[in-house]
Symmetry: C2
Subunit: 76 residues, 2 copies
Amino acid sequence: MAKAIFYHAGCPVCVSAEQDLLNLIPSEAVEVVHLRNEKAKVAAAEKAGVQSVPALVLSNGNVLHINFGAAIADLK
Amino acid sequence: MAKAIFYHAGCPVCVSAEQDLLNLIPSEAVEVVHLRNEKAKVAAAEKAGVQSVPALVLSNGNVLHINFGAAIADLK
């Protein structure tokens, strides 16, 4: 089975929640891509349909956008 | 470890994506609650911070909102 890909950009507000999600998914089933550190992969993420991070692109092509990034209220 | 709780309301657009996510998470680690069928649990979901479905409430209290429900574009 192809791996799912978890895209994020190091959002400090979301790191805790992201880590929790990754704790739930077996590590062999998901690849983690940090788009700020791996900018060459941004185009592939866009092509896959990623509109915001964090997002989980599933092996069947479905894209789950999680929290649509940080809300202003979360940053206060 | 306390289970995570996956709240949804049977949104037909999201069923496929939801199922994919649940395929990634071991079933013993997550409880699934269908809020349209289990309306008595809506108050608990709200208290946990759920603002839209589907959402995943983690055992540490973090809430991951996924896709904020269906976008209009998804329904066309």
